[in-house]
């Protein structure tokens, strides 16, 4: 995986809290506001192209990565977008993870595509996740 060492590599290594490694397209990672900042700011992670996520286990991370690819594939489509499958039992965990990873972070400096906003409208479960984030008891 030597090409991961290069800063402009197309791929990024994500490591789950239980030590599983995922090689993910950088482009897909950038959909998450948090990952985007991590990869674009000159800290340890951006130099090694590796991000260890202590908050997420492999099961959760793999589902999240699935979503990132799904979003990447369909974000420019306007119609004929298949549903994204979310196992009911994972819904709450995904909700919290989505908040952590910030999939719709916007500020003057981070002009993340509005694809996810659109998706959250088209895909009730992500809308569901977002609307829950307002009620999240852990968020002050």
């Amino acid at each position: 995986m030597s090409h991961l060492d290069q800063e402009d590599s197309k791929y990024v290594k994500l490591i789950s809290s239980d030590g599983y490694q995922f090689i993910v397209k950088r482009e897909a990672c950038l959909i998450s506001g948090t990952l985007k900042n991590i990869l674009n700011t000159s800290f340890k992670e951006s130099e090694t192209n590796t991000v260890k996520l202590y908050e997420l286990d492999a099961i959760l991370l793999s589902k999240i990565i699935e979503y990132l690819y799904y979003n990447l594939k369909y974000r420019d489509e306007l119609t004929n977008i298949p549903e994204f499958d979310i196992p009911t039992e994972m819904a709450l965990e995904l909700l919290v993870a989505a908040d952590f990873l910030d999939s719709k972070y916007n500020s003057r400096f981070r002009q993340l595509g509005s694809g996810l906003d659109a998706l959250s409208k088209n895909y009730p479960i992500w809308g569901f996740v977002y609307s829950f984030s307002c009620l999240n008891p852990f968020i002050p």
Binding site: F43, F109, P140
Partner: protein, 791 residues
């Protein structure tokens, strides 16, 4: 919806897993967490970020915010940035205090570094920004960072560093203006960008640049512009000022486009326009030394274009140019008079020394009129060229120049007469060697002058008079030209204006046809009477061309009480023609006007046979000597008895055939200029001329300017016809409307007459009064201001 449905009934069977404890469950020690973050912030500020883990810092701040430590975290971060600014950066900047440039460089460096570190801190604390700041309506860390930089670096200690920056930048700009020395544009630009980025205080939205820098900068610029414009004005030269200012504006634009924000630039441009152009232009353009007049006179097109552009910068109405051009054009009128006189007078002197004929003076005034019109055309061409090439055909200027020219033309009294004389000269003489296109072009130009003329009826009067003489004397080069000119006038003013002119034309044509018909008739008759005596016939044969003129078309005075006795031979011819004509048109009356005709007489003198063309009157006098002995003498009174030519006219005729040096057909005793009652005349047997064909000049018939009394008469007659025309217009209007208010009637009358002349309101009022008196109109009984038409 389907998802919601499925999740709804899956709830029954599947339990949703709660989030793991590691994510949000465990307790958090704020102080421990802050220690880590505080250390990291310091590392970031000293550019050691690469050893830090973004994920770790983010996770810590995430957990702090989730645990409701957002406020403490926010405040602590700001506090640590503030400390860094005050203790670290400020002292670094102040340590470079001696050298201005080093100081600016240091400010810039610290600013850039601070910008970077604040951004990184803000990035790491993105969860704080996103959740805590947003919910509490606080600024993001990055934005607070900018405010802190403003408050603890730039404005700290009574704006200490800020003032210094402003002073240095303005000094640099001024240095560049004065000496052209190149300043570090990129540094200046960067510093100004920094000032712009510093946000405004809460009470007003203006950023630091707008509030603190811009006013000082504009003041300094104003001072500079004032200084420099006063310096250049001192040269007292219009063109120098214009050129220098143009260069200065270009320099300023180049200078400032490099480092000033877009919002300031227009303010600076305004300032330049006001101080450099608007304020001084009135003085500059009036300088005698290459002022506007001078440039116009010399047709300096690029320079005028420059002036146009400069004026356009500060006044889209171009008022100053309008005013100045008005003055200049009106002044041209006087210059034109002088110039024309100078052009004509040398010819005058020359001819006077050659021959002391009286008529040269008059001819030269014709020349004067022609030259004057030519000069006017030249002048119009000049302004047209300036307008086209220097002023981009600006509509407003075109209008102003046009109306000024109108005024110029209409203030000089004789424009109508001069223009008509000019056209007369063109058609009679000047067009001889020109192509059709050239002639048309000149006629088109004279129409342009015509358009400017207010008193079109006066022009019509002169034109008719001149045309009449051209037609009767067959002086026009071509009828085509005459017709083309008339159709041009027609295009301008409509058929009613030219109907009389066209009528004159028609008369001449019909007369020609009649004359030739009469000639063949005569030949036939003669052949019948004496078929064998051809020789006798040709000897006695008299040819006649008669022009039948409709009295209303022609401007010639009718002499009904003319008792002129035609010589015998002419008399029979005349009667024959009368019979011929009246047989065709029996209801008409023919009145002969011998004073306009000419005769050709073949005369044998001692030396030679001459063919002499002379006025009919002179012809009649000469005929008295026909078939008489060579020493036959007549006194003036005898001649008068025999011919009945009016005495004044007779004197003139006798002068031209006995006094004028080239056409001395008669010998007058005593020989003197004046003709007296007891003078005696006899044939001059020794008459000699180099040419076989001799022409006795018909003094009264050539077209030349009128003298004052003649002009007075013309104007009087125009005034008279204006009265009738005004009457007619008023009656026409009232007949159509039946009733009208005073103002309506006034306006409509002016509108109807404007093609002919500009009626003064007093004239209209006076005519209305007259019509009231004559009971064409009556005032309404309800309203004194309303008139009714009385059928």
């Amino acid at each position: 919806m389907s998802i919601n449905d499925s999740s709804a009934h899956s709830l029954k069977r599947t339990k949703i897993r709660p989030p793991k404890k590691t994510l949000s469950g465990s307790e958090v020690d704020f102080n421990k967490s802050w220690e880590v973050l505080s250390f990291a912030i310091k590392q970031i500020q000293s550019k050691n970020s690469s050893s830090l883990s973004f994920e770790e810092l983010y996770r810590i701040s995430y957990n702090l915010v989730l645990r409701k430590f957002g406020k403490s975290l926010y405040n602590n971060v700001l506090e640590s940035i503030k400390t860094h600014l005050l203790c670290d950066i400020r002292s670094k900047i102040l340590s470079t205090t001696e050298d201005d440039k080093k100081f600016l460089l240091e400010v810039n460096k610290q600013w850039q570094e601070n910008l970077l570190s604040t951004r990184m801190i803000s990035d790491v604390l993105m969860y704080l920004n996103r959740v805590y700041s947003k919910q509490n309506h606080l600024l993001l860390i990055y934005d607070v960072g900018l405010e802190l930089f403003r408050d603890y670096i730039i404005k700290y200690n009574n704006n200490e560093i800020g003032d210094r920056i402003i002073r240095i930048v303005i000094n640099e700009v001024n240095k560049n203006r004065d000496t052209g020395e190149i300043i570090d544009k990129f540094l200046i630009k960067s510093i100004i960008y920094m000032l712009e980025t510093l946000p405004g205080e809460k009470d007003d939205g203006e950023n630091y640049y707008v509030k603190y820098f811009e006013p000082v900068f504009l003041d300094a610029s104003l001072e500079f512009y004032n200084k420099i414009s006063n310096e250049i004005i001192a040269f007292q030269n219009g063109l120098v000022y214009i050129n220098k200012i143009d260069q200065l504006i270009k320099d300023e634009e180049q200078r400032n486009i490099l480092y000033l924000p877009q919002t300031t630039f227009p303010k600076l441009v305004d300032l330049m326009n006001n101080v450099l152009i608007d304020k001084n232009l009135n003085i500059i353009l009036r300088f005698e030394n290459e002022g506007l007049k001078n440039l116009v006179d010399n047709i300096k097109l690029p320079q005028l274009n420059l002036i146009y552009k400069l004026v356009l910068r500060c006044d889209t109405e171009l008022s100053i140019l309008k005013i100045l051009f008005h003055e200049i054009i009106l002044n041209e009128g006087d210059d034109l008079m002088k110039k024309t006189k100078e052009l004509v007078s040398p010819i005058n002197n020359l001819t006077n020394s050659n021959k002391q004929s009286k008529s040269t003076g008059k001819e030269n005034t014709t020349q004067f009129a022609v030259k004057w019109v030519e000069n006017i055309l030249e002048l119009m061409d000049k302004y047209e060229e300036i307008l086209k090439k220097s002023f981009a055909y600006n509509q407003q200027l075109a209008k102003a120049i046009n109306s000024s020219i109108s005024q110029l033309l209409n203030t000089s009294n004789n424009v109508c007469e001069y223009l008509s004389l000019f056209i007369d000269d063109c058609i009679k003489r000047a067009f001889k060697n020109r192509t059709e296109e050239e002639c048309e072009a000149i006629l088109d130009k004279s129409i342009v002058i015509f358009r400017h003329i207010k008193d079109k009826d006066l022009f019509e009067k002169y034109y008719k008079k001149h045309l009449a003489k051209r037609l009767l004397q067959q002086k026009s080069i071509s009828n085509e030209l005459e017709r083309s000119m008339i159709s041009k006038i027609k295009q301008e003013l409509g058929a009613s204006f030219t109907s009389k002119l066209e009528g004159m034309f028609r008369d001449i044509k019909i007369s020609k046809d009649l004359s030739s018909e009469f000639k063949t008739l005569q030949l036939k008759e003669a052949a019948e009477v004496a078929p064998n005596n051809q020789k006798e016939l040709s000897k006695k044969k008299l040819e006649v061309d008669v022009n039948i003129l409709t009295t209303t078309f022609w401007p010639l005075p009718l002499t009904k009480d003319n008792n002129f006795k035609f010589p015998e031979s002419l008399h029979t011819l005349k009667e024959k023609y009368e019979n011929f004509y009246l047989s065709k048109h029996n209801a008409r009356i023919l009145i002969w006007a011998p004073n306009f005709g000419t005769v050709d007489i073949r005369m044998r003198f001692k030396k030679k046979l001459y063919e002499i063309n002379m006025p009919t009157y002179s012809g009649a006098i000469i005929m008295l000597f026909d078939n008489q002995t060579s020493d036959k003498k007549y006194t003036f009174d005898e001649i008068y008895e025999l011919t009945n030519i009016p005495k004044q006219e007779l004197k003139r005729q006798l002068q031209s055939i006995s006094v004028a040096p080239r056409t001395r057909l008669l010998i007058k005793k005593p020989m003197s200029r004046d003709v007296k009652h007891d003078d005696v005349f006899k044939i001059n047997e020794n008459f000699h001329s180099n040419l076989t064909k001799v022409k006795v000049s018909a003094v009264s018939l050539s077209n030349k300017p009128e003298d004052d009394s003649e002009r007075g008469k013309t104007i009087e007659s125009v005034d008279r016809s204006r009265k009738y025309e005004t009457d007619a217009a008023i009656v026409r209007i009232m007949k159509a409307r039946k009733t009208a208010t005073h103002n309506e009637l006034m306006n409509e009358t002016i509108r109807q007459l404007q093609n002919r002349f500009k009626p003064p309101p007093s004239l209209i009022k006076q005519r209305i009064e007259a019509l009231l008196e004559r009971e064409y109109l009556a005032r309404s009984s309800d309203d004194r201001n309303v008139y009714n038409y009385l059928a």
